[in-house]
């Protein structure tokens, strides 16, 4: 089920909302959030609900283990066993074919003719996200950062919370623990308007901006080999804004939905195209993922505590795995490696970079990010090299990749202003106080989104594939 679908907006959300607030106790609300989470997830494919239930149960039991046992051996068992289980499921569903094909490729390079099977595996939507939810819970429980919950439904409500289930943000238990515990006393009206405002802004980002870019960009990438240099830059630039407004829109909707149910979901995007350097980018882009990679991978690897070269190695490893997290493809790994290299280079040449003016740094960082997204968008290594070659070696071809370039340019101008100059949803709501007149632009924006959704249909979010 998609946030930008009529079945969600007209049926699922109103029913979930009304019943949730009709229930009086926290326990009843946990159960209701769990049920709705599974309905939301099962709407796509009910079979994979079992997978999520299994992963939830294993992680919950690990948490109970941390509460019960104090000896190091048993606690380590409670740490390792569920993490191995979760990662095994993720590896099977997401990376099995990739591993087999990579192995076969290596065998072919070595001159060994290998007949490899192709598993007919359907990737469960959102598995990367809820696996991270459960792993962060287990690790935080092991470290003593959180006190694992004894209430199974509190935990299952956290894992299957529909607002963050399939495409994040990767909310750590500790970030909404307090709100979950107080769910029975939550005030319905306190954040209602803020929630609606966040949700509508997210819907505008997705439906009016990201999907407009998608209408131009997707056909262009479908025939990338025929594009000229200008056409390729236009396509990649369009994708740069499409992916940002798609995911940022989704995240803002998730935050808004959280508010509607008395849960404060943290910020996931902080205008990343305003970033001035590679480190700044990752403090602003998919914040929940980058902070998880930092806390659960980079720092345990040693972070920057063991000298310059170890730091570079840790940065590269973290970003390579971050790339791989996005999908089972070499293009994602290369994209991760590219950003690892940028981070390492920035670490080495920070004084020189920081001496440049802020505008130059922002523009240069944006262009570096755009180049990375050409690889990220490519569906194969061959496509990535073709896109990069066309971008940097003047090539004749389809100069204009679409009809209706005016619409593209207008949307581009709006997107550039909004993402590089204007306020993001959180900045807009900082110090925000509701005024009755605010309802009018929100109603107009909602009406516009509904009209476009009714005409063009509901398109899935890009991050659903991860």
């Amino acid at each position: 089920m998609l946030f930008n679908s009529f079945v969600f907006l007209c049926l699922f959300l109103p029913v979930t909302y009304v019943v949730f607030w009709a229930l009086r106790t926290a326990s009843a609300r946990y159960v209701w959030l769990t049920i709705t989470g599974y309905v939301f997830y099962g709407y796509w494919d009910a079979r994979f609900c079992l997978l999520m239930a299994f992963s939830t149960t294993v992680s919950y039991l690990a948490g109970r283990g941390f509460l019960r046992w104090t000896d190091a051996r048993r606690r380590r068992l409670c740490l390792v066993l569920p993490i191995v289980t979760d990662l095994s499921l993720l590896a099977f569903f997401k990376y099995a074919n990739f591993a087999v094909e990579t192995g076969a490729g290596i065998a072919r390079l070595l001159g060994v003719a290998a007949q490899v099977p192709h598993f007919n595996i359907v990737l469960p939507v959102g598995i990367s996200f809820y696996t991270f939810h459960t792993i962060t819970y287990i690790v935080d429980g092991y470290r003593g950062v959180i006190r694992p919950t004894k209430n199974f439904f509190e935990f299952s409500a956290y894992v299957s919370l529909f607002s963050q289930l399939v495409a994040g943000p990767i909310v750590r238990f500790r970030q909404i623990e307090q709100d979950l515990e107080n769910l029975g006393h939550a005030d319905r009206t306190r954040w209602l308007r803020t929630g609606i405002s966040f949700f509508v802004i997210g819907l505008v980002e997705k439906v009016l901006v990201a999907d407009t870019f998608a209408a131009f960009v997707d056909p262009a990438f479908a025939r990338y080999a025929t594009l000229s240099t200008l056409g390729t830059w236009a396509a990649v630039l369009g994708y740069t804004f499409q992916v940002y407004f798609d995911f940022s829109g989704y995240s803002d909707m998730a935050v808004g939905l959280g508010y509607l149910f008395g849960l404060r979901i943290p910020q996931n995007f902080n205008s990343p195209y305003k970033a001035l350097d590679p480190s700044d980018v990752w403090r602003r882009w998919h914040i929940s993922l980058s902070s998880c990679l930092r806390d659960y991978l980079y720092i345990p690897l040693g972070g920057s505590r063991h000298g310059e070269w170890r730091t570079y190695r840790n940065l590269m490893l973290t970003m390579l795995l971050g790339g791989l997290w996005h999908g089972a493809s070499w293009t994602y790994i290369i994209w991760g490696g590219y950003h690892g290299a940028l981070l390492a280079l920035y670490r080495r040449f920070a004084p020189q970079w920081d001496a440049l003016s802020a505008r130059v740094r922002q523009g240069a960082m944006f262009l570096l990010f755009v180049v990375g997204l050409a690889v990220f968008r490519a569906r194969s290594f061959e496509m990535a090299t073709s896109l990069l070659r066309t971008m940097f070696a003047p090539t004749h071809g389809d100069r204009l990749m679409f009809s209706g370039s005016g619409v593209f340019l207008v949307t581009l101008a709006i997107a550039v202003w909004w993402s590089m100059v204007g306020p993001n949803a959180f900045e807009y709501h900082a110090g925000w106080r509701w005024r009755p007149r605010y309802a009018f632009p929100l109603a107009a924006a909602l009406g516009a989104c509904l009209a476009v959704m009714a005409g063009a249909g509901s398109s899935p979010f890009l991050y659903y594939q991860f």
Binding site: A186, V407, W434, G447
Partner: protein, 409 residues
């Protein structure tokens, strides 16, 4: 540098003093403050006015966006009211025909009013032009643009020399009007082969198909520009659950049947309607031959087997909405009888018959509803026709268009 907003404080909403979040809207809601001294009824009126204004803003913005979206995506003028019956069909002194350069959603007609690529009036020398006459099944409904069976037929015949397929279909057109369309318009384009894919159930409507009415002024029944486009969009996204849809269909049929004498219903194949179907088809064959072209008849295919699979009951009942005068049994029986009659007519008149009814009927995956094709169904249909045309018609028509009719016989 921007400031990272970390949420409105980490204290739980319930524990935060409410004054910070209280707003003038709360006053509007009559809970505190500014409007305490205003009578309760007045507050109620103001609140209703406020929410009405908000709702109206939402609807107006939606309507404006729908029009802008249509303008950008489909080139529909902002003040136009899209309607397939007007945007795709021109009713002038020649009778109903495809509107030149007509556009409606995915349907795009060329400058002669055909759902085909741009073309010349006369086929290029050495090229075979195939005209396809039919109704909505031929015009295309569920198929993606370019996947309707005439388009796929042209693709299938690419290897058979220069072949051009002209889709001259008009939604809801009966055989009698197809004959008129052929005589007054399509024959001008000199196709050497004419495929006819009739819709038999049009002969089960309340009144039998008649000749086209006199042309109407385009202005007289144009809806006003403010007719909301939102309604059409809402209708498209509204998918009723099966139970409700079943009731809606039952109600629609009951309304159409209410007050009628029991003899009004067709419970079996009405002989007069079948005879008219055959006579009209016969006339069309004669008209096509009179212009020197080769007719090819295609029997009508449907989703159902006879007797129908019980799981198809809902779709079958939905079909009945269009011909409430006939029971579902009569519809299926008429389809079979029309297919038989088409085969017999083909044999009697020496016309090639492509038996789509035998090849496609009963394959649900080929149909988006009762009779309209999916991409796959259109592909199978195109393949079936292409095979028969290649063997029976194209070789002879390319060699000598005048002799092609003899080749079929």
């Amino acid at each position: 540098m921007t400031t990272v907003y970390t949420g409105p404080g980490r204290k739980h909403p319930a524990t935060v003093a409410s004054s910070g979040g209280r707003s003038r809207s709360a006053g509007l809601a009559g809970k505190s403050g500014l409007m305490d001294d205003i009578p309760r009824w007045s507050r109620g009126v103001r609140r209703a006015a406020y929410w009405t204004a908000v709702g109206a803003t939402c609807l107006l913005a939606a309507e404006a966006t729908a029009r802008l979206d249509d303008r950008v995506r489909q080139g529909i003028p902002l003040l136009h009211v899209p309607d397939p019956a007007r945007d795709l069909v021109l009713r002038d002194s020649l009778g109903p025909r495809g509107r030149p350069n007509g556009r409606y959603k995915k349907w795009r007609l060329n400058r002669f009013g055909f759902r085909s690529a741009d073309m010349t009036l006369v086929p290029a020398p050495g090229c075979t032009r195939i005209a396809v006459l039919g109704a909505s099944e031929t015009l295309g409904a569920y198929e993606a643009d370019g996947q309707e069976y005439p388009s796929q037929l042209e693709d299938s015949l690419r290897g058979s020399g220069c072949v051009e397929v002209v889709n001259a279909a008009i939604a809801g057109i009966s055989l009698r009007r197809l004959t008129h369309l052929w005589n007054t318009w399509v024959a001008r384009f000199q196709p050497s082969v004419v495929l006819v894919y009739p819709s038999p159930t049009l002969y089960l409507s309340e009144n039998p198909p008649a000749d086209p009415p006199a042309p109407r002024s385009a202005m007289e029944d144009d809806p006003p520009w403010w007719t909301p486009r939102l309604l059409e969009r809402a209708h498209e996204v509204l998918h009723y659950p099966a139970l409700i849809q079943r009731r809606r269909v039952a109600r629609a049929v009951a309304r159409a049947v209410a007050g009628r004498d029991s003899s009004w219903l067709f419970r079996s194949v009405p002989a007069d309607r079948l005879n008219q179907y055959v006579a009209d088809l016969d006339s069309l064959v004669s008209a096509i031959r009179a212009r020197g072209a080769t007719p090819v008849l295609v029997t009508h295919a449907m989703r159902f087997t006879v007797p129908p699979d019980p799981s198809d009951a809902d779709v079958l009942n939905s079909w009945r909405q269009f011909t409430p005068r006939a029971t579902t049994d009569a519809i299926l029986a008429f389809e079979e009888a029309a297919a038989d009659a088409t085969r017999m007519l083909g044999a009697r008149r020496g016309v090639l018959v492509v038996d789509a009814a035998s090849a496609l009927s009963g394959h649900r995956e080929y149909f988006g509803d009762f009779v309209h094709f999916t991409n796959r169904g259109a592909g199978v249909m195109a393949g079936l026709i292409a095979d028969r045309l290649r063997h029976a018609v194209l070789r002879s028509s390319q060699a000598s268009p005048a002799e092609s009719a003899d080749a079929v016989q």
